[in-house]
Amino acid sequence: MSDHDYRPKSKVGQWFNDRLPLLTLANHLTDYPTPKNLNYWWTFGGILTFCLITQIITGLTLAMHYIAHADMAFESVEHIMRDVNYGWLIRYIHANGASMFFLAVYIHIFRSLFYGSYKSPREIIWIIGIIIYLLMMAAAFMGYVLPWGQMSFWGATVITNLFSAIPLVGEGIVTWLWGGYSVDNPTLTRFFTLHYLIPFLILGLVILHIWALHVPGNNNPVGIDIKKPSKDTVPFHPYIVIKDGFALLMFMIVFAFFVFYAPNILGHADNYIEANPMVTPAHIVPEWYLLPFYAILRSVPDKLLGVVAMLSAILILAVLPWLDTSKIRSAVFRPLYKQFYWILVADVLILGYMGAMPAEGLYLLIARVATAYYFLHFLVILPVLGFKEKTLPIPLSITEPVLGGSPNLAAARSKESKIE
């Protein structure tokens, strides 16, 4: 590794770096050899970092004006919207920023699924990613409770009641979570505290996520191991920094569209009605990014099993590196997996749509089929496919498919067939 050879040019730099090698770290991050064939689907890591920092900055500023009390929370949010200088802008960025964060994370996850980025030797990166995703859902849910509108209150009631499905201790756990006999002021204040804490936990995990990434290096669209540094890599700066920056600009256009032209389109009108423990809104629907899991919850007619199915749908992702038995990473060389991949994408979108519809009749039936297929994909299709699928020959290097007739091609092919 070139890291160890690095030595700052200036005397002061050397003096500092010998005591705390921050400059070595900075040098590692700029020189970090990156596969040169990374496409735009690889820019979402940078975009997600931007989302996290945006949420932390806007969240800190909102917390300076928000009051976490059941009697005042709703009014304090209106106060932010009407009285605080640029309060409307900061709140709309924060609220829509959550949606943008999830949009980016779903693209990031599905990129990993397509190119097999979760496979050996990147399992730890993947599992840390799943933990970050779980924490994101917890943070988003608790954040949604803070404005203390009708959806906040009843969303909190329904989600916390999921724990009552646990046999014997369930009711006790729910009372403990609430700090009372219903969702009320004690619930609000603790949710505010945790909502404030979680982003910093995520930040810590993001650092681990990147650290774990920098050990084996990036996967790439071809999905093969590459030598680093080599003809197949480029330094992170300026190549990837500029590419990430351009993608971020495109992403910010979408972000700005929601903030300035449709700030409430992803929310629910019911949340502009103050929380009322006596009346449940006619349709309780979670935010769009939780809908697929909500559909799974509702498609099981038993309370406990519904909760178990919903949690399993998320946790099953953590063991994905071992459920997928194929040694080939990229779907580019897996003709069958590629088709099942797109079916899964459609399946999750269908689940999301069914989660927004009332749980009855045809909707319920479709949701049940889609739920069954979701688990079938991970528990049956993926393990079997690794053994049955006839994969396409993979190139020896990133350069090879670009240049076509590489002199090594014949050698590479014969070597590969020996492995098989």
């Binding site: 700090g179 006999y181 423990p277 006596m278 449940t280």
Partner: protein, 169 residues
């Protein structure tokens, strides 16, 4: 290295770890228990309600411990319907006689036992209550008949203080 010395070390390690674990657990408990309902929440344990204005077929909803409580003065037909149901038709078998001591008055928590929404009055397939969140149907005794909820709506502790006043809790 003698056998005896190793054993002494082991004992010290085990004893230190055990004391440390007990100490850590003792320190964690207050942090966990502070989240349970506090004294001020528990103090709001009972509510008195004047029901003199209720006519048969009417329901009022009152707040008790932050939760809605339905108080319904049932009609003759509703009582008959609730009492004529066979036990084997029920998901959570409970006799109406046990749920409503005074048959005219049904007092229960207006909280769906599925995920805690407030069911709607006079709705659903069994003319009792219907939960709009996930489609649970309750009968005129507040018993679950259809849908994902596992239990009947809970009857809290209550008593008639006098002919017109119910004390809940």
């Amino acid at each position: 290295m003698s056998e005896k010395k190793t054993k002494r070390r082991d004992f010290l390690f085990t004893a230190t770890t055990a004391v440390g674990a007990v100490g850590a657990a003792a320190a964690v408990w207050p942090m966990v228990d502070q989240m349970n309902p506090d004294a001020s929440v528990k103090a709001l344990a009972s509510t008195e309600v004047d029901v003199s204005s209720l006519k048969p077929g009417n329901t009022i909803t009152v707040l008790w411990r932050g939760k809605p409580v339905f108080i319904r003065r049932r009609t003759k037909e509703e009582i008959e319907e609730a009492r004529s149901v066979k036990m084997e038709d029920l998901i959570h078998p409970e006799k109406d006689e046990d749920r409503a001591k005074n048959p005219e008055w049904l007092v229960m928590l207006g909280v769906c036992t599925h995920l805690g929404c407030v069911p709607l009055n006079d709705k659903g397939d069994y003319k009792g209550w219907f939960c709009p969140c996930h489609g649970s149907h309750y009968d005129t005794s507040g018993r679950i008949r259809k849908g994902p909820a596992p239990l009947n709506m809970e009857v809290p502790k209550y008593e008639f203080v006098n002919a017109n006043t119910i004390k809940i809790g």
